[in-house]
Amino acid sequence: MSNARPPKLFKSFFLWYSRPELQESILGDLDEKFDEDVRNYGAFKARIAFAWTVLRFMRVNVIKPFTKTQKLNNYDMFRNYLKISLRVFRKERSFSLINLSGLILGFVCCLLIYLFINDELSFDKFHKEADRIYRISAAYMREGKWEPYASNSWRTAELIKTNFNEVEELVRIRSIEGFVMHGEQRIREERIAYVDKNFFEVFSFPLISGDRQSVLDGTSKTVISESIALKYFGDTDVVGRTLQVSDTLYQLQVSGVMKDMPPNSHFHLDILISPQTQRLSAPPSMYRSVGWDSQRVYARMKEDANISTIEERFPQFIDDNLDYLTSGNFKLFFQPLLDIHLKSDLGLELEPNGKMSNIYIFSFVAAFILFIACINYINLSTARSLRRAKEVGMRKVLGAKRSNLINQFLLESFVMTFLALLIAFGLSLLILPEFNEFANKSIRWSTFFEKELLLGLAIAFLFIGLIAGSYPSFVLSSFKAGQSIKGWKYSDKSSLSMRKALVVVQFTISIALIAATVIVFKQLRFLQQKELGINEKQVIAIPLQTMERAQLESFKTEASNHPAVLGLGSSHMRIPGWINNSTHYIAQDVEVDEEARKSMKIVRVDHDFFDLVEAKMLMGRSFSREFPSDQNASIIINEAAAAQLGWEEPIGKWIGLNESRLNTIGVVKDFHFESLHRKIPPTIFVLTDRFLFWTYARIDGAQMVPALEHLEKVYGDFVTNRDFEYSFVTDDVLLQYKAEEKFTQVFEIFTVLAILIASLGTFGLISFAVEQKSKEIGIRKVLGASVRNLTTLLTREFAIFLGVASFIAFPLTYYLMNEWMKDFIYRTNIGWTPFAIAAVSSILIAFSTTIFKSLRVALANPVDALRDE
């Protein structure tokens, strides 16, 4: 019976829960009692008694206060870890700083990109019931394709309001530009609009003074923004004061002041004018014509409105109500307000919008940069581990388990991550003003302290700390105690190849980014420098404004009466501009094809226009004063038009427009009137002497100032109530690609940062390699190797990395950038140059980061390397 044993399970259970200092005496008593019980009552009962007693021992004074003691223990250990990591940081300052700055750069990038994206996504969300507000946009069938516009006509909006009772509120906005006149001041403002009186019912822009419902109800009433009030009156309490907008010819009375529209609104207006005032100044035809797309139309729909069924009813509505527009050539559709900023890129938007694809691209770039920074950390910490092998060995000898070591190195990585995050946070705050200016944003400081951002940072901290720390801690903790103390050199093949793979990934991303940047840049250059088909150099555009059109010819004569003014020509269109005037037609020898519903654009010009822009006539002649009949019987078409008509011999053939037949007298070579975002449309040029809005003057580049002075003087003789304005056509052309330019700049900056981080990593690695091989190099040197041999030895590996990385990066970049380029109608071919540039610059970068270290070790006295044993 003496072989009966107390139940093991309960014994260890007791050991687990009880205070260590009580265990000896209690267990002793238990065992003794068990032995006795076995003798008295038998093994079974004794065991039950044992178990029962163990359970009964679970008392407050016996159970160990598990939380307290354990924490105390770990706390001390953690303090030790912290102390050691700070010491290591100080001891290997350059390594640590490289490591840290890589992480900081990565975090700063990500933080700023996050802020940017967050801001982009916040557009228009401040409106109450924004999810029920839609813009009603229109599309026209052009050349067999729907061409969508953000605009609509006043009349169409009115008919929608009366025909669809799902519409709760409908508001029209007609934006204009003009001079604001107040006292002596006469300043051009671009953010003026006529709006419906329920503007503030639909949009939640806050009013400082004035009643939301009635503030825009009445003749001559206007609501101005705070900044306009300050600009003209020096005060915001200005209700009742008056000012004049050039378009109205009436005094406007301020009936309310609103806060400036927030930056994350997809449109910004400073001066809102009541609908009754518009009645007085706008031509009556604007209200009658369904084709005069003067308005942006926004509607708040009733809660139960089903948008898709309404859209299904639109074609019927169009056929029934909209005069000559039919469901075949005209389409109406809803755009949710919240989607407009990122997803809408229609013609005639109120302001250029953001792009969803940019959001995706920047998110990717942010992720990549963070990834590179993490790789850096992993690489550098693992590489540095050699120096800490002895520490690891010592800790193991002193009883550290693997989990302790993993904890230690994880903690170290968390400390570094935290430090990096903290510095990155401060740094981002510091450069926020510059960033705002650059990204054209107005992100406030307070955004940094919003819940979501701080939460995101906390998550990033844990996540990145874990990612960056897990691999080094795994490798470091795996060292064998004995070997590492003996000075065993770190040569774990698997972790080395892991690090090599990581470097290749880094190089791949960097090379891909360089190549992508070059491609983006190339496309931008292409857009900016593509030959437009005309000579736009030294041509200035002058709006005719209120000039009496009958006097235009004499203005041109007088203006060109100066040696520096080489010529003038006029058009109803601005170059570059958006030809929104299009027409249906019938034409000689062309079957009327109702299905295709083809149309052409119309541009009105004067006699001298083609000469002035130096457009090339391919066939026939230009408009000429020698043929008076040109005035209303002749047209010139462009190549695209001739191609659409299928005319081989266009000269002399007729085109029917509005019941009258016009003779084709010439074919002009295709040239870009519009931006390169749009294809050159088939265009008919018509001669006119009345419907002209812009005149263009070619001036002598060497005598710019006198030419402009002369033009201003002459202009002043013909236009007395407006100021002389002009712009260079070349500047206007560049202005069209502002968005692309910005995109390119942003891309460049991030690429530079990515490269910087990657080269920090490369530098760290070469330093490590040099240290690893210092003895080898010493011996080689002693045996007669030259400096060049040694440098090659050290840098060769990186050349291989670069090769592999390029091999992966090039096809990937080619594919992705090809997709990106598909958004452009006119695009450059990618070619091989971007890849050559990427390859050369990455070689240069890798070489310049490695050469210094390798040279230094190659030049060193071999004795230094060999003597240390």
Binding site: S25, D29, K33, R56, N61, V62
Partner: protein, 110 residues
């Protein structure tokens, strides 16, 4: 006089048993003695916890000694009554006698 000067009935019993067992007082012997002298069966844990409490109050002191094979080589924790413990027991005894003296004497003694 505060909480430390107060002993519960069970505490008093244990304290007395430790006094009785003199040099041989530890968990198991106390348990056996209780069963023997008072016919009272309690759990070992109750005894232990009470011992600790009394030690904390200063009426007992303990030391480790006497490992046996039966105990798996573990030492016993012997308890010994302190002077304070003895004084308290005496005091309690006298207090009880004092009280008994105040009870009405039974009229007829056999």
């Amino acid at each position: 006089m505060g909480r430390t000067n107060f002993l519960g009935e069970f505490e008093e019993l244990i304290l007395t048993l430790v006094l009785i067992l003199d040099e041989d007082a530890y968990g198991n012997t106390i348990l056996t003695a209780m069963k023997e002298h008072r016919g009272r069966v309690v759990n070992l844990s109750t005894v232990h916890v009470t011992l600790y409490r009394l030690e904390k109050k200063g009426y007992l002191e303990s030391h480790y000694a006497g490992a046996t094979k039966k105990r798996g080589g573990r030492r016993k924790r012997y308890f010994r009554i302190t002077n304070a413990g003895k004084a308290l027991l005496r005091e309690m005894k006298e207090a009880r006698i004092q009280l008994w003296k105040l009870t009405p004497q039974l009229s007829t003694e056999p």
